[in-house]
């Protein structure tokens, strides 16, 4: 009966890599995200290595991608600041997009691990928490760099008694970014694996397509929100 199911559902088990007594890493997350980073960097490097006036296929693709990422940052941050934060926002978008799609498109299940299984790296809450914390560090840094100590005026606007709410907001922003991405990806993968264990063939495909669509929207949302938070601080 066990072998009848093509996939079994494992939640919360990881392939641990031990560094020393107290520190250990989630191996499948690290390997998956390293893979995504390497693929994206190699593609972008080789497609823009020799720029031509009449672009070829890959160069056209990278240029379209750049225009799209520029429009995300530009629409939130405005003409005078977008260039400073474009690298951050586009890195976030590309990494999350690559991670989300790698979970569905790459047949990771071929590789057997002793414990846990390969999935999208954003399936691990540590990855999304790291991205969310990076976002909040960036908007603090942006505020200090552009406004100096006048940054703290933000906390007593529009009036002083909103101070606690403004402070709480600094914590809820990364929390909601974190849970939004994590929950969406986990929900997608759980739905697909539950359907796979019920009907292994053909039926899960529309759900997987929906998952691809939803996860690309999530990458867009994360990048848009990160740039919106930065814009809110420096305006």
């Amino acid at each position: 009966m066990e072998s009848f199911f093509l996939s079994n559902i494992e939640v919360g088990s990881h392939f641990y890599i031990k560094y020393n007594e107290n520190i250990h890493f989630h191996g499948e997350t690290i390997i998956g995200s390293l893979f995504v980073v390497i693929v994206i960097s190699l593609f972008l490097f080789f497609s823009t290595k020799e720029l031509k006036i009449l672009p070829e296929l890959f160069q056209t693709f990278s240029e379209t991608l750049f225009d799209f990422l520029k429009s995300i940052a530009f629409s939130q941050l405005g003409p005078s600041f977008y260039m400073q934060f474009l690298p951050f926002v586009s890195t976030l978008f590309l990494f999350i997009f690559g991670c989300n799609w790698s979970g569905t498109l790459i047949p990771w299940k071929i590789l057997e691990l002793s414990e846990g299984e390969f999935a999208a790296p954003t399936n691990d809450i540590n990855t999304t928490a790291c991205l969310a914390i990076l976002t909040s560090i960036t908007y603090f840094y942006a505020g200090f760099k552009i406004k100096g100590l006048g940054y703290f005026q933000r906390y007593i606007k529009p009036s002083v008694f909103l101070l606690p709410i403004n402070i709480i907001e600094d914590f809820t922003k990364p929390l909601s970014l974190n849970f939004r991405l994590f929950g969406n990806i986990v929900a997608d993968e759980l739905t697909v694996s539950v359907l796979c264990s019920l009907v292994p063939l053909f039926i899960p495909i529309p759900i997987m397509l929906l998952g691809l669509f939803a996860s690309s929207i999530q990458a867009l949302i994360f990048a848009t929100l990160a740039s919106a938070y930065i814009a809110e601080v420096i305006e």
Binding site: R180, G183, N184
Partner: protein
């Protein structure tokens, strides 16, 4: 005995969490989609812009359901009350 009572309560609680979390965003998404259709019917030439905004706001509403789902999943798979 105590553990099994906690397990049963967590299963019911996770079902309730997902179920109730679905209500609000469902109503909200229905409203948003209805308004978007109205807007497209009135002004078909801005369909692309309306669709983009609609999808973005859908994802925000979706997030509220997902919070319920995260609570349900943590109750089912990572329950802090069962040793």
């Amino acid at each position: 005995m105590v553990d099994s009572i906690i397990a049963a309560a967590s299963v019911i609680a996770s079902a309730l969490a997902v179920g109730f979390a679905g209500i609000g965003p469902g109503i909200g998404q229905g409203n948003a989609a209805g308004q978007a259709v109205e807007g497209i019917a009135r002004q078909p030439e801005v369909e692309g812009k309306i669709r983009g905004t609609l999808l973005l706001s859908f994802a925000f509403m979706e997030a509220l359901t997902i919070y319920g789902l995260v609570v349900a999943l943590s109750l089912l798979f990572a329950n802090p009350f069962i040793k």
